[in-house]
Symmetry: C2
Subunit: 210 residues, 2 copies
Amino acid sequence: MATVRQPLDFSPRKRPSQRRSRETFDALVEACAGLLARRGYAETTTNHIAERAGVNIASLYEYFPGKDAIVAQVAERLVERVLARLAEAADEVMAAGGEDAVRLWIERIHEIVSRERELVAVFVYQVPYTRELAPVEAVGARLLELSQEVRRRAGGTLARELSDAGLHLLINLVTSTILQCILDPPPGVAPRELLDELVRRVEAWLPRPR
Amino acid sequence: MATVRQPLDFSPRKRPSQRRSRETFDALVEACAGLLARRGYAETTTNHIAERAGVNIASLYEYFPGKDAIVAQVAERLVERVLARLAEAADEVMAAGGEDAVRLWIERIHEIVSRERELVAVFVYQVPYTRELAPVEAVGARLLELSQEVRRRAGGTLARELSDAGLHLLINLVTSTILQCILDPPPGVAPRELLDELVRRVEAWLPRPR
DNA sequence: GTATAATCCAAGTAATTGCTTTGATTACTC
DNA sequence: GAGTAATCAAAGCAATTACTTGGATTATAC
């Protein structure tokens, strides 16, 4: 940490236009993602990122004002990826419909986040400004939307019968439990059990569809 | 980060015996705590810690093998402080007893953790090895014990009627919601509301005492 | 009052890191 | 095929950081 950039700058310096430049841009972001997942935030350096991307360090600074901007870009893509998969999963769950909607939905969320375990861990536990990143801020709201949609189409109303605070709590329970299973599984209780109990709890919590 | 200490060393190098040395030891740990709270993990450096403690840098390394060891010591004291206050609060809640036990207990937890807001935020969001620290690992279990005690003495049984998984979920809901209120309050819902709803939820969740 | 422990002083080392520079080379656009 | 955009190569700079050294000074224990 040589210089202290007082106001954090998360936006890329310039957007690539040509195909070639798009490729180096992507290579940089992907190299950064790989390093974050393997080595963690502190050990991920700009020189290292450029090297791993097979790109000259000068080119890196052509596109990004600094390390944080690349990391932010990684976060943005991670969020996009996860949200896209969640949306897809929501469709499937709604299509399947029926009794098991809640179980299916929770299991799919768990599965999708699991696939990004290492990266998620780094953003949750290490990156000091994760919560300030715009795409990250939007995740909660989007997850809520999807969940309401699932619930509605799968045979019940959710929004009208739970207060805002209640919804928050519910989402809180689901996300914190799933994250715990993935990132920090408690000894003595199998993740499987936790998830099963979570499903039961959520079902009991929701107003019965009629 | 000049050298990479492969196996992290969290234990102090030597324990102070004389009064004078106890004082410099304490001054170092407290200076570190202050810096962590104010500047965050990355900006807290050993030179800075020593300076702020009014202690020579050489003395710092007399007691600690490195930055992480001081940070670990800060964590240990933080945990001790919080757990002690929680135990005290548990006693009070049990003494007061009655209907409001759950509400009182949750409010006290919230209040106690609130007082350590900045430090907690740093350990939760920034320190990369928080979850590997022994004292931290024990927090969950201890909180569970205290909660069960409160519940038992305040008129119900808890342990026998909830599965392990159920208990985990419950604790999860409580801690994640309280932490959210303190560290990352969602826009649009007042923390007060969240806590109220939490109390209601937890009461509804628990088997009715009789 | 002497031996030992603790602290200071102050300078310094070795390594890393973020980021820049300059000029040459290569690819793409039209 | 000319002009522009992208990339590279290589060196380097300024700052920071963790940590050490070795001798002088001061406090503490017995």
